[in-house]
Symmetry: C2
C-alpha cells in the first residue's frame, strides 16, 4: 500500500468523457490498495476564457478579483470529478483551497504556498475517501480571500499537497507519457527517461521542455517528493523525477533541450571600463528585464562589444531602457536579433566528466552551425545559434551524445 | 442618503457589456450619496450548463458536489462586476457566501438561510466600498461546505442581505420593468402597479407571475424589507412591494394571474365514506405530490367524484400512486386532464368587498367559458378553465375589474 497524489491537467479533464476516464484511473489506484488524493486543473480552455473576461474589463484589473474569477475553473472540476468517482462506487469529496486550507501569501495572481494543513485530507484518506483538491488555488488567511498560484500552478499544488500528506509519490498525468531525452517531434528516436534527477529536470524545464512547471520541480527537490510524469490517455509507466542517489546508472548527458523564446542583444563599442557591466545590467534589472546568457568580448582601443539574451517578450522594453541610458553607458549602437535559439545539453554526469562541451562544439561544427554565445553551468552547456538551425542542432547533439534509441 | 441593496439577475449580467451597464447603474446610486451593496446571479446560461454537466455525470449526483459546481457561476460574476466598478472609479470587492458569511442549514441544493453576519458589509459600506455579494450561495458551518438556495435563490439572497444590513430598500433589477396588473403579452393595456402589498405579490408570484421568487417575498414580508422590482435596461421607476399600510388607495383587485403548470385529476365514483379524502391526499403526500385546488361533488348512491389539481410535472407520479392505491380507495376510474389553466383574481380589497367572485363568474359566463373548479382564499379567487380559454379569460377579467389602462 502506498499513499499517492494524482494530478490531472486541463486536457485530461477537458470534457465529461475525460473526467470519467480520470475517475477510472483513480479507481484502479484505490482498488490496488492505495490511499489516493487527486489534484485537478480547470477544464481545458476554461481558465483562458475567464482570464480574457478580466482582461477585457480592464488590462489593469485588481488581482484579488482576478483570483476570485479564475479560481472557479478548478472548483468546477473538483465537483464534477467527485460526482464521477461516486458514480463508480468510489467515496470522494471536493476540497477548495480555503477548505483544506492551503494558505498562501497575499501576492494575488502568483501567490506562494506558505502552509498546507494536511490533517483533514490524511484523516479522510484513512477512512477510504478520495479527496479531490482544486489545484492552482489557495487562501490568504489575513483577509480570507482566494489566491491563485500563477499559470501552471496546479503542478505546484500537487507537489505541495504530496509533501503535506507525506505521499509516497506524486503522479503528474499529462498529455505526454513522460520526460524524453529531447522533443520527440524533432527527434523521432528520442527515448523516454525512466528516471531523471531533480537538478536535471529543473534545467530541462527551464530551457523549454515544458512538461513540469519549474517551481513545482524546485519544491519537489526541496521537499524530496518523488514525482512521476505519465500520460492520462495511455496505460504505461512514465518518468520518475527523483533524488540523484536513486539513479543507479547515471548517463553523462540526460537530455537535449531547446528554446526559441529568447532574443539576442548586442551593445556595440561599450567603453571598456570597470563597472560598465553593473551599469548595463543594473538598468535592465530596474526595468524588470531578465537577462540570461552574457558574453563580453575582449576589448580593443578602449571599447568592447557586450552580448546577452533576454526573453523575446522583454525585448522592446530592454531596447527602450538601453536607448534611454545611452548617454550614461556610452555604447555606439544596439543590435537586436530575435531569430536565435538556445540549445542546451543537460546531465548530472558532466560534473565528473571532462570534454562534454567539446563534443557539443565539434558536433555543431560538423554541421556548419555557427555558435553565437556559449554559457555553462555545473550540469548544463548552452549555446545560442541561428533559429533556422534548431532542429538540425538538436538532432546532431542527440546523436553525438549517444541518446538515439532504436529507430 | 439611503442604504440600498441592488440585485441583478442572469440576463442583466449576461455578458461584459451588460456587466458594464450594471456598473454604471451602481455608480449612479453611489454618486447620489447612497450606501450600496450589490447581489448578483450567474451570467445567463452558465448555471444551466453547470447543472447539465452534473446531471450528465449522474442523475442522482451528490447535492454537496452539485453545490460546489453551480456556485461558481455567481462567483465569476462577483469578480467581474467588482473589476468593472473599479474601472469606473468605484471602490468595490467581491464576497462569496462563505466570506460574508451567509450561513445556511445543510439541505444542499435548496438550503435555507439561517443567519447572515452583516457586520463586515456594513463596515465596508461605511468606508465607501461597494460589496458585490454572490447570490444563491451560502456555507454550511458545521462542515464548512458551500450550499446553494435553489433556483431563483438570488432574489432570496438579496432580500436576506437587505435585512442583515438594515437596508432602506432592496431593488431587484430584472428584464421586466415592474409588476403589472396582468401579463402584458396577453393584455397590452395591462398597467404597471406603483405599489403592491407583500400578500398580493405572494399570491401573484405563486400563481405564475414569475417576477419574484416566492420565498424571497415571504422573507421580505417577514423581515419588512421594502422591495422594488425594476428594469435593468430602462431608466424608470419600477413597482414597490411593501406593507399594505403603505398603500393609501387600495384597489379591490390588484391583478389577474394565470398558470398553465397544473393538471386536473378526477377520481370517478369514490366511495362516499368518512376518511376517504384523508386516504386519497395522504397517499399523494406520501408520494411527494403537491395538491392545489380540491372539489368534491355531493355524492349519490354512496359514491362521489373527487377532482383536484397537481403540478403537470407530478401528474405521472400522481397517477401511478392512485392506481396502486385503487384496491384501498375503491374509485372506479382516474381521469387526468393536463389541458387546463388556472386563472386567479388577486386583491387585498376583497377582504372588505362582497361580490368579487360573482363579477368573475359573470365575466367568464359572458364569454361562454366553462368553469371546471373554483377555489378561494382571503385575497384570491381562482378558477380552472380549459387551457384554450387562457387569454380570453385573462382579458375579460382584466376589463371586468376595471384594470385596463389607456389603450
Amino acid at each position: 500500500m502506498a499513499r499517492i497524489v494524482m494530478k490531472f491537467g486541463g486536457t485530461s479533464v477537458a470534457d465529461l468523457d475525460r473526467i470519467r476516464n480520470v475517475a477510472d484511473r483513480v479507481k484502479r489506484e484505490v482498488e490496488a490498495g492505495n490511499e489516493v488524493a487527486v489534484v485537478v486543473s480547470a477544464m481545458a480552455g476554461v481558465t483562458n476564457q475567464l482570464v480574457k473576461w478580466c482582461q477585457e474589463l480592464s488590462p489593469l484589473h485588481d488581482a484579488r478579483e482576478y483570483d476570485a474569477v479564475v479560481a472557479t475553473g478548478e472548483q468546477v472540476t473538483t465537483g464534477l470529478l467527485a460526482i464521477a468517482l461516486q458514480t463508480i462506487g468510489i467515496d470522494a469529496r471536493s476540497w477548495q483551497g480555503w477548505q483544506v486550507p492551503i494558505t498562501t501569501d497575499g501576492a494575488h495572481g502568483k501567490a506562494r504556498v506558505e502552509a498546507i494543513d494536511g490533517s483533514l485530507l490524511i484523516e479522510r484518506m484513512a477512512q477510504g475517501q478520495v479527496p479531490v483538491v482544486a489545484g492552482f488555488q489557495g487562501v490568504e488567511p489575513a483577509r480570507n480571500r482566494i489566491t491563485t498560484l500563477g499559470r501552471g500552478g496546479s503542478d505546484l499544488s500537487a507537489v505541495a499537497i504530496a509533501a503535506a500528506v507525506q505521499a509516497d509519490r506524486c503522479d503528474i498525468y499529462t498529455d505526454v507519457d513522460g520526460i524524453y531525452t529531447t522533443d520527440p517531434r524533432i527527434v523521432p528516436r528520442a527515448r523516454k527517461l525512466e528516471k531523471i534527477s531533480y537538478e536535471e529536470m529543473l534545467e530541462l524545464a527551464s530551457v523549454g521542455a515544458k512538461v513540469l512547471q519549474t517551481r513545482s520541480v524546485e519544491l519537489a527537490m526541496k521537499q524530496r517528493v518523488r514525482v512521476q510524469v505519465l500520460s492520462s490517455f495511455e496505460d504505461k509507466p512514465g518518468s520518475l523525477v527523483v533524488d540523484e542517489d536513486e539513479i543507479v546508472e547515471q548517463p553523462v548527458v540526460s537530455g537535449i533541450a531547446y528554446s526559441r523564446d529568447d532574443a539576442k542583444v548586442t551593445l556595440r563599442r561599450v567603453p571598456d571600463r570597470p563597472g560598465i557591466a553593473a551599469a548595463v545590467f543594473g538598468a535592465l534589472a530596474a526595468a524588470n528585464v531578465n537577462v540570461d546568457m552574457i558574453v563580453q568580448n575582449i576589448g580593443a582601443d578602449g571599447s568592447t562589444d557586450m552580448t546577452f539574451t533576454v526573453g523575446k517578450a522583454d525585448l522592446a522594453r530592454a531596447r527602450v531602457t538601453l536607448e534611454r541610458a545611452q548617454a550614461d553607458l556610452g555604447h555606439e549602437a544596439i543590435i537586436a536579433d530575435p531569430d536565435v535559439a538556445k540549445i542546451s545539453v543537460v546531465g548530472i554526469g558532466m560534473r565528473s566528466h571532462a570534454g562534454i562541451a567539446n563534443t557539443m562544439f565539434k558536433a555543431l561544427a560538423e554541421k556548419n552551425i555557427n555558435i553565437q554565445v556559449i554559457s555553462t553551468s555545473e550540469i548544463k552547456v548552452s549555446v545560442l545559434v541561428g533559429v533556422e538551425y534548431t532542429e538540425l542542432a538538436v538532432r546532431a547533439l542527440h546523436t553525438a551524445y549517444g541518446l538515439d534509441g532504436p529507430g
